[in-house]
């Protein structure tokens, strides 16, 4: 999942999970705003097979125009791999810094502002002199 030089938000979600549905627009807003500055969004659907068509429809409706993923095999194994301390509550978001190291884990839904407070400093770790102008402007706002 490491994307060298990128800050990665990897989110486990389900199309039928109401908190996931509510959070999604904020997540996409964050992605659209910060992708040009190095944010990568990895969406991992934990939908059961019977729900996957609905998941595809949901993603299309949210304007997801990049590859998204689905779990395969044991969901218990997926939970352990995603974060051993995770109870399995959806949604959940794993945060990786630019060097691919885990920088945090966020169980439950979050808002745009909550995500932004996490992502912005990690993107800024390149150093202020390399910080893109739009991001610098956002920071000072």
């Amino acid at each position: 999942m490491s994307k060298h030089g990128k800050v990665v938000l990897a989110q486990a979600w389900s199309s039928l999970c109401l908190p996931c549905q509510e959070e999604f627009p904020d997540l996409m807003r964050l992605y659209r705003e910060f992708a040009p500055h190095g944010l990568e969004l990895v969406l991992i659907s934990a939908d059961l097979q019977a729900w996957r068509e609905q998941a595809r429809t949901f993603l299309a409706g949210q304007g997801v125009d990049f590859p998204a993923f689905s779990t395969t095999g044991s969901l218990e194994a997926f939970i352990e791999a995603f974060d051993p301390a995770w109870s399995g509550s959806l949604p959940a978001t794993l945060v990786l810094g630019q060097n691919g190291q885990r920088r945090g884990f966020w169980p439950g839904a979050a808002t745009y502002e909550e995500f932004r407070k996490v992502v912005e400093p990690l993107l800024g770790e390149k150093g202020p002199e390399k910080c893109p102008a739009p991001l610098a402007a956002a920071r000072s706002a």
């Binding site: 389900s14 039928l16 999970c17 109401l18 908190p19 934990a46 059961l48 097979q49 019977a50 729900w51 044991s74 969901l75 218990e76 939970i79 352990e80 301390a85 995770w86 109870s87 399995g88 509550s89 959806l90 949604p91 945090g104 884990f105 966020w106 169980p107 439950g108 839904a109 979050a110 909550e114 407070k117 996490v118 912005e120 400093p121």
Partner: protein, 205 residues
């Protein structure tokens, strides 16, 4: 300083609630909760002679819907073997109308649930257990000590495809006075939508 503050806030946001450990006693056992039959019920009242099953559940969650018939069958059948059971809805119905009391009554009747299905009106019972999602299962032995927590089985999607009947095995074990063969498992579920924490102020005397 701003960066430090931001990261501190991040750390706080990432703090997980404290979940009950194996061997812990049943928290908030005497708190009365409104059952779908209109009566007030506490966990202490439904304790079985051989054990107690506490299930955090709801109406809206698709993972609950996937497992609810299996959960109902287990709760109903093991109640007859001395294991008391209670289903608890801690979700805020203001957020999810499907989780309203009236819909709980409908759901319990449709499922043929023979154990209480109650409203955790403050969500504090879920907080005390450290429950984070629905469905989530906590099983206590005859002494009221936690002996199993986690999943119903290993296949939400297909009952016929289940290879590991975690909860059934744990229930059978404590019904026989034994320790469950596996005491902690995990499964996906919907995050509990907790009611806002209310703070009571007392006027200075």
């Amino acid at each position: 300083m701003k960066g430090t503050l931001t990261m501190l806030m991040f750390s706080a946001a990432l703090t997980s609630p404290t979940v009950l450990d194996l061997g812990d006693s049943i928290p908030m056992a005497d708190v009365k909760m409104k059952n779908v039959d209109g009566n007030q019920v506490s966990i202490a009242q439904i304790k079985g002679t051989k054990g107690t099953l506490v299930v955090f559940t709801c109406n809206h969650c698709p993972y609950v819907k996937a497992w609810e018939e299996r959960l109902t069958e287990l709760a109903n059948s093991f109640q007859k073997e001395g294991i008391g059971a209670i289903f608890i809805n801690s979700n805020d119905p203001a957020r999810y109308e499907e989780d309203s009391y009236e819909n709980m009554q409908t759901r319990a009747a449709k499922l043929g649930l023979e154990v209480p299905y109650v409203v955790d009106a403050t969500s504090d019972v879920a907080r005390a257990f450290g429950a984070t999602k629905t469905p989530e299962v906590f099983l206590f032995d005859a002494a009221g000590k936690l002996v199993y927590r986690g999943a119903v089985d290993d296949n939400a999607e297909n009952p016929a495809g289940v290879t590991k009947t975690y909860l059934k095995d744990a229930l059978a074990a404590i019904a026989a006075g034994r320790v469950p063969p596996l005491q902690q498992t995990k499964a996906l579920g919907c995050t509990i939508k907790f009611r806002a924490k209310t703070i009571k102020f007392r006027a200075k005397e």
